[in-house]
């Protein structure tokens, strides 16, 4: 299965939040550690519900966690 066109900043966000482990994030989101790992590696695109839950846990907007294709990322490329 090819990697998805959706990229993400989960790894950076985890480290910005007290070096949260994949296991901790998975427990808070309600998915397994393996699923967090697959999302982080771009092998699996999560449902909207999981994406919003992650954004809520990190205290950011969804588009700061997930990015599609070549779309400019908030906080980068001069995008507010």
């Amino acid at each position: 299965m090819p990697p998805t066109a959706v990229t993400n900043s989960i790894r950076q966000l985890r480290f910005q939040h007290g070096e949260m482990t994949q296991q901790e994030l998975g427990e808070r989101v309600g998915v397994t550690r393996q699923t967090i790992n697959a999302i982080e590696a771009g092998k699996y695109s999560p449902s909207l519900e999981v994406a919003f839950r992650m954004a809520e846990i990190f205290g950011v907007r969804v588009d700061e966690v997930f990015h599609y294709g070549n779309a400019p990322q908030p906080g980068k490329d001069g995008v507010p």
Partner: protein
């Protein structure tokens, strides 16, 4: 390795073990007059499979109680659905092909038809759990 991948491995190995035992004993009963023996062998195989699966499940549950209690998440459910879909095609193709071979090529009669459908079912279950393992290892 995730808990569900472990259960997929256990199930796959249990199916392979029981299938090998079944095919080691059943071919000599393939003649139509031995139909009842074939049926008994199928039932014995199913019972053996259930027992192996149950024991393995209890052992896994004791070793990973927390993982066993956690319900499958969305990725695991998606993997299950993909595996079931592939297994369905294997079963449909295998059963139809098997029935054709049993009736027209080997003249196996009702016993042959029963064995063909049973074999298609077993094969589809092997494919299902092997597919689950592949998807679990690939991530999705």
């Amino acid at each position: 390795m995730s808990f569900r991948e472990k259960t997929a491995w256990v199930t796959l190995l249990a199916i392979i073990a029981v299938t090998l035992l079944y095919w080691a004993h059943v071919p000599k009963f393939i003649e139509p007059q031995h139909g009842v023996w074939v049926l008994h062998a199928m039932l014995a195989s199913l019972v053996a499979y259930v027992v192996i699966e149950l024991v393995a499940w209890i052992v896994l549950r004791q070793r990973h109680p927390r993982d066993a209690r956690t319900p499958a998440d969305e990725r695991e459910r998606l993997i299950d659905l993909k595996a079931i879909r592939i297994a369905y095609y294997v079963f449909a193709t295998g059963a139809l092909g098997g029935v054709f071979v049993a009736l027209h090529l080997t003249r196996g009669g009702p016993t042959g038809v029963g064995m063909a459908v049973f074999l298609a079912f077993v094969l589809s279950q092997m494919v299902k759990h092997a597919t689950r393992i592949v998807f679990f290892r690939r991530g999705a």
